[in-house]
Amino acid sequence: MITIDVLCGSVAGLQAGEVEQWIGNAWLRAEGPPGQYRFQEIDVARVRLIRELRNDLGIDDETLPVVLSLIDQLYAARRQMRKLRRAVEEAAPDDVKQAILNTLAG
């Protein structure tokens, strides 16, 4: 588990106030009550993503929630796709796999 201080230390120029604001906006998720937030590795990557979108790509704070929501939907769909792929890999007999390939090719 990562504290807010460690999080700010691992991303250059990141302010704790900014992080709290993002949590308030539901852009970033954390465990624990305010003042005792705990983060995971994925939250550090999330912070980097938010900073890239805002600072490097110039996406403003009104547009950012739309962009984040679309990104989250995209990855939810991709996770489902992976799950489906695993299910087909593990459960479908070879002739069904071939039939799926044929259908997709057609």
């Binding site: 539901a26 998720r29 995971q40 590795e41 994925i42 939250d43 990557a45 999330r46 912070v47 980097r48 993503l49 900073r51 890239e52 490097d56 790509l57 110039g58 929501s69 990104i71 989250d72 939907q73 995209l74 990855y75 939810a76 991709r78 996770r79 489902q80 992976r82 799950k83 489906l84």
Partner: protein, 309 residues
Amino acid sequence: MAARDPYEVLGLKPGASDKEIRGAYRKLAKKHHPDLNPGNKPAEERFKEVSAANELLSDPARRARYDRGEIDASGQERPQRGSWQGHAEGPQGTRYRPNGEAGVDEQEIGDIFAELFRRGGSGAPPNMRMRGGDLQYTLAVDFLDAVNGATRRLTLPQGKHLDVRVPPGIEDGQVMRLKGQGQPGHNGGAAGDALIEIHVTPHPFFHRDGNDIRFEVPVTLAEAVLGGKITVPSPSGSLSVTVPPHSDTGAQLRLRGKGVPAHAGQPAGDAYVTLKVVIGAVDDKLERFLRDRAPDPAGNPRRGMTGDA
């Protein structure tokens, strides 16, 4: 592979202004950002290239050194990427599922297929033997029916009736499964089940506590002080109980075995009656008696709350 000229990467001429560099970078970065193009390898490579070019050209000191030929385009460290994709596609990615609810989207894909196969959609072989789907209903049950058990008639959307035997002791939120009462199966498959969620309506004075029933009954001053037999309600009907003399508000009487009846291997619960003294109408005699009786031998019942003696 030698890095390309950063101006060329951004589609600019040497001597471009800072604003032009920034604008060109943003345009290309938006187009090729790997988190916006997951799995698109060329876009990812292009983004790395664009980022590296921007990093070099947006730093005046390094840009000057590059322009002077002191460093070349490949001499720069690649910018640190957030690698959102790696996290978002791993199992931990569900932390940022779109709706924020726990445990939903991983389930969805299964639901889509369950529905597809149930409906005999084009994905399922036409002669595949399939079990019918389960149907979900809710049934409101009175408090006493839930305690004692009852038979309730459920009217289904298609106008059919289903007699549901509610077993004694059922609790709010419990789900009953009626085998074979769901959707019919396909091609000789078994019918699905009806899943009935029980909603127990609260009772005006009985409260359930596991298999015990708790409630309050009012008693008069005389009944509390002198004691005696009184009649109280219970889930199984009225009962006669004895109030011991010198009882007070809050005194509890236990009626063994008069709670939820024995069911599903559990013994019957008890009923707990809490007495509540009510004064009611006061006549002159009581008033005079109390006035003459001062000081009250009971003392101050609030001592310990206010700090008074």
